[in-house]
Amino acid sequence: MTFDERFQVKDMQENNAYDENAGMLDEAPMSDETVLNEAPMPEEAVILGAVEESQEDDIPAEEEIPKPRRKHWRGFRAFFRSRKFRRGLFITLMLLYPVAQFLIMWAFVNIDSIIMTFQKYDTVKGWKFVGLDNYKNWFQKFRADPAYTTMMVNSALHSVVGMFIIFPLCLMISYFLCRKVPLSGFFRVVFYLPSIIPLVVLALGFTNMIKVDGLLGKLYEGFNLEAPALLVPPKVRWTIYGFTVWAGLGGNLLLLSGTIKRVPEEVLESARLDGLGTMGELFRIVVPMIWPTLVTLFIMSMMGIFSVVFQPLFLTDKLMDETMTLGLWIFNKATDNAGNVQAATLGIMSTVIVAPIILLTRWALDKMFSGVDY
C-alpha cells in the first residue's frame, strides 16, 4: 500500500466514515487465484501472509487481525482484489479506447457538425455565430440554383440505381452462384474483384474501354458506326450510372451468398419436390428466409444517395455540374474555409430529409416477413 493510500485511510478514519466502509468492503469476496497469481509488493507481503495463514487456519479474518486500522486495510485491499472490482477494471480498460474514439469521432463530430451550421469562419475573428444564415443560404440555393437541383437529382438517382438495379441483380447473381452454375467458384472471385480493387484503377480501366479507341469504340467500328462521346455532357451522367452498376454488382456478393448458403437444404429440397421452379424457390423460399439480411443490405443500397463520391471525379478527372453528387460536393468543400459551413448545412439538411425516409423504409420492410428464423 502506498503512502497516499495510507493517508487516505487515515482521513477516512477521522471522518468517521471508516466503520461503515470497513464492513462493506470486508464482505467483498476475495478471489483465491489472484492472491496466488500476482507477486505482491514487499510491504504488502506481510499482510498477504496473514491472509493466507488465516485461510489455512480457517479462522475468520476479523478475529485474526483485531486492529481496526489493519482490518480496514484488508477490507480495502480485499475490495481491490475482489473479482467484482477486477472485472469492472478489466471492462473499463478494454472499452476505454474504443468508446473514447467513438465519442470523439462520432458523437463530438456530429454535434460539432450541427454547431458548425450556425457558424461562419472569419479570417480576422475566427469562428463566429451567424444564426440561421447558412440555412437561409441553403434554402435559396435549393429553390433557385439549377446546379444544386441537378446534384440532388443525381444523388437520388444513384440511390434508385443502387436499390432497384444493383441490389436485385446482386441477389440473383448470389443465388445462382449458390445453385452451382458451372464455374461458380471462378465467377465468384471475378465478380467480387471490383469491390476490392482501388476505385482509381477501376475508373482507369473503365474509361479506357469506353474511349473512342477502346473496346466500345472498336465494337462501333465493327458495325461501321461512330462511337458516342460518353465522357462529356450530356451522356456522361449515364456513363457514371453505368460505371456504378458495372463495378457494383459484386459488392454484396460475399455476404449474400454466405447468407443464402445458410438456408437449410431440406427446406429447398421439399420445395423442389412440391414442384417449385428455380425462380419460385428464390422469391418464395430464399428471399423470405434471408429477409433480415436483405433489409440491411437494401438500406445500405439506399444510402448510395450519400456514398457515391469519387466515381464522377475519377471518371471525368474534373468536377462538373452535370455529374455532381451530394458526397462529392461536401468532399470538395470540406477544407475550404468559405464553403465548409455550406457543406455542413447541406449534410444536415440532407440527413433531415433522407434519414426519416430510410428509417421508415426499414421499419416497413421489417414488418413484411417478421419472425422468420432458422
Binding site: 472499452l95 439480411t293 477544407t335 449534410g347
Partner: protein, 310 residues
C-alpha cells in the same frame, strides 16, 4: 384387317405412350429439368459476358503496361510488348509531388499496416467485452452503435477536419491511424457475433485454473477467434489500401499509392508515357490480389459463418 388393325393400333399405342410421357410425371420432371437447364444456360452465358466485361479492362491494362510509348500510341490492341518491364522500373522512380511511386508504396504499407493493427485491436477489445461481459450501459452502447450505423449522418467531413486541425493531427500519420481505429463499425458487428458464438465454458475452465480476465482474453479467446480476426484484418487491409479520402485530407505530404495513382493519371492523361500509369495501377492492385487469393477461403468461410443480421 388384322394388318390394318395392327398398323392402325401401333401408332395409337405409340401416341399414347408419348402422350403419357408428355403429360405424366416423368414428362413434367423432364420438362422442368429442360427448363431449368435452359435457364441455367442463359444465366451461364450472362455470367460469362459480365466476367469478360470485368476482365477485359484489366487484361488490357496489363498488356498495355508492357508497351513503349510508340506502340501504345499506334495501336492499343496489338500484342507488341517491346518495353518489357521497363515501364515498371520507370514507374517506381517516377515522381509525383516529390514522392516516387516506390515511396508511395512504402507510405501505403506503413499507413495501411498501422491502420489494420489499430482497427483490429480496437474492434477486438470492443466486440469481445460487449459480447462476453454483462455490465451497466452495455445495452446503451450497443443501441447507440446500431443507431450510428443505421442513421446516415452526412456532411460531418468539415467538422471532422476542423477537429483534426484543432488536435494538430492534420498531415500526421497518427491522425490517420486515429481515424482508422474506430472500434464500432461493421467489423464490430461481425466480431461481436463471432465472439458470441464461442462457448464460455473454455473461459470457465481457465478461471478455475486461476486465469485472470485479461489472460482469458489474450490466451484463450483471441486465438480461438483467429479465423474471424484474419478475415477482418484482410478485409480491412483491402479497404484501407483503396482509401482515397482519408490520405487526401490528412496525409498530404505522405501520399499513399491510391492518392498518387490518381495524381499520376491526371498528370500523364495526354502524355505518350501513359503506360507508366497502367504499370503503377497494376502494381497498386497486385498486393490486394495476392492477399485475396491467399485468404480467399478464410474470408469466404467466415462470411458464411457470421453472416449479417440487421
Amino acid at each position: 384387317m388384322e394388318e390394318e388393325n395392327d398398323i392402325g393400333s401401333v401408332p395409337v399405342a405409340k401416341k399414347s405412350i408419348r402422350h403419357k410421357l408428355y403429360h405424366g410425371t416423368i414428362g413434367a420432371a423432364k420438362r422442368a429439368g429442360a427448363k431449368k437447364t435452359s435457364l441455367f444456360t442463359v444465366v451461364f452465358i450472362l455470367f460469362i459476358i459480365y466476367a469478360l466485361l470485368l476482365l477485359i479492362p484489366f487484361f488490357w491494362m496489363v498488356f498495355n503496361s508492357f508497351k513503349g510509348p510508340i506502340e501504345f500510341g499506334l495501336d492499343k490492341w496489338s500484342f507488341n510488348f517491346t518495353a518489357g518491364f521497363d515501364n515498371y522500373v520507370k514507374a517506381f522512380n517516377y515522381k509525383v509531388k516529390d514522392t516516387t511511386v516506390l515511396g508511395m508504396y512504402l507510405n501505403s504499407i506503413l499507413v495501411v499496416g498501422g491502420g489494420v493493427v489499430v482497427t483490429l485491436v480496437s474492434c477486438t477489445l470492443a466486440s469481445y467485452t460487449m459480447a462476453k461481459y454483462k455490465f451497466h450501459g452495455r445495452g446503451l452502447i450497443y443501441n447507440i452503435v446500431i443507431i450510428a450505423m443505421m442513421v446516415p449522418i452526412v456532411g460531418t467531413l468539415p467538422a471532422q477536419y476542423r477537429l483534426m486541425q484543432k488536435l494538430g493531427l492534420v498531415d500526421n500519420i497518427v491522425g490517420v491511424w486515429f481515424l482508422y481505429s474506430g472500434g464500432f463499425g461493421f467489423n464490430f458487428l461481425f466480431l461481436y457475433s463471432y465472439f458470441k458464438s464461442i462457448s464460455w465454458t473454455y473461459a470457465e475452465a481457465a478461471q478455475i485454473d486461476g486465469a485472470s480476465d485479461f489472460r482469458i482474453f489474450i490466451q484463450i479467446m483471441v486465438p480461438m477467434a483467429r479465423p474471424a480476426l484474419t478475415a477482418v484484418g484482410v478485409l480491412t487491409f483491402m479497404g484501407l489500401w483503396c482509401d482515397y479520402q482519408t490520405p487526401y485530407f490528412y496525409l498530404n505530404s505522405m501520399p499513399t499509392i491510391a492518392l498518387g495513382l490518381k495524381d499520376m493519371s491526371d498528370q500523364l492523361a495526354y502524355d505518350p508515357n501513359y503506360p507508366l500509369v497502367l504499370a503503377t495501377a497494376i502494381m497498386a492492385t497486385i498486393p490486394i490480389l495476392v492477399l485475396f487469393c491467399a485468404f480467399q477461403k478464410t474470408i469466404m468461410n467466415n462470411m458464411t459463418v457470421g453472416g449479417l443480421k440487421g
